[in-house]
Assembly symmetry: D2
Homo-oligomer: 137 residues x 4
């Protein structure tokens, strides 16, 4: 399993007139968590794109338990619970506030595309090797 | 059933470096669709808040089929397929581009809160009456 | 002079906890106004990029007179007051709410780059011709 | 003088299809810098609002020198160069990338309002005392 923790401070512009963090902002927080989970594997998402690959999101779901507020420090916990087999990468999420209250849980599924052909592609070997260090064979 | 159609032109700032509309932006597009669906019922979401009620999102899911691009005109179709009974309002979505290709489908669930107490509340009568015009008894 | 008017409905996610449209959102509204002003010239900004040109912003300033609120219909008036000579394009702005109150005024300056070289370039002839229809020689 | 430094990692959703950080995103980065500058004074902007005060932006200007890219670590340097006298607070900015290249410079002016009356108000004494520690009399 890959598990990473990232802290994000809520920005004023991320709140809405309800005083909550706008429900659409968590897509960005989850993206930040995802990128930090990948860094644990030994490379950045930026490098993936530099190698001619793209990883668009094909599924996103989130359940909101409690709102977050301006200036809160959010902990985004990102999990890759299973080694991606084939074409789909699943990232699972839990967000907590600084009182350790669960704010929301979610899941994001990505696929890998070749930038030049725009076709889906299997995980390359260097990516698979990086994952192998985190998953039992 | 309530069904509304809204057109949204993709803004430059809504794209990302992949050239796609960023996956988190659809939360805003769905919100716009939701607000227009409510206008069909005879009132604006703004009026709901002015009556001391809030409608936060508690669940959001979306499946991406095709990307949208800068300057595309997106049609957001919003459905209330069943009369909300009790506390949960389900909005379902389909987004199309101008070639009538399905871009994504999704679902958003909201609850109703009293602003002063921050407690969940049932749909008020005036809201129920508005819904009754769209659903068979 | 080129002058265009665009209507924009304020989205919930564009408000902040003050209940105002967040001050950074107007960059997007001004971009929408700019794109519509270009359409008056006979082409879209999308086509400009398809011809291998980019128009990044190099200066942006805005003075806020009154806040805008959720669900307001904003009128963005965009002016090209002088024919761009050389390399800089100036767009000037006025935003009004539906009570015709001035919300803010601003100015955005863009330059034109060749995408392949990333170097500044002069306005191409087809762009200049389009502008000539709006400015006395 | 008050001077603070804040690091911000560019998020994917903050880029646009040019591959640059969208020009409107810096309003958020400047807001983050401003909040950190205030923390140096001994209080958070959140506490200011809890005391019944609001600080809306009335002027914002920015000059872009170089673009920032996805995953860059941006250093936002925020200056309060002069003690605010009367009603206006000026924050000045410089943003650098990790190669220490100047990305942009800017200025944001805020005023202080009483939340209940929505009227402008002078800096309260506790705020003035906090500022006095940073400015010669």
């Amino acid at each position: 399993m890959v598990k990473s923790e990232t802290k994000i401070r809520v920005r004023y512009g991320e709140t809405d007139q309800m005083g909550y963090v706008y429900y659409g902002v968590y897509a960005q927080y989850y993206e930040v968590g995802r990128v930090e989970a990948m860094r644990l594997l030994g490379f950045s998402y930026k490098e993936i794109e530099q190698k001619g690959l793209l990883m668009p999101v094909i599924d996103f779901s989130i359940s909101y338990k409690k709102p977050a507020y301006y200036d809160d420090e959010i902990t985004v916990i990102t999990f890759i619970r299973e080694k991606p087999n084939g074409y789909r990468f699943n990232f699972e999420y839990e967000c907590y506030n600084s009182s350790n209250e669960l704010l929301n849980t979610g899941k994001v599924t990505l696929v890998m595309l070749e930038k030049t052909t725009n076709k889906m592609t299997k995980i390359p070997e260097w990516f698979e090797n990086a994952l192998n260090r985190f998953f039992l064979p």
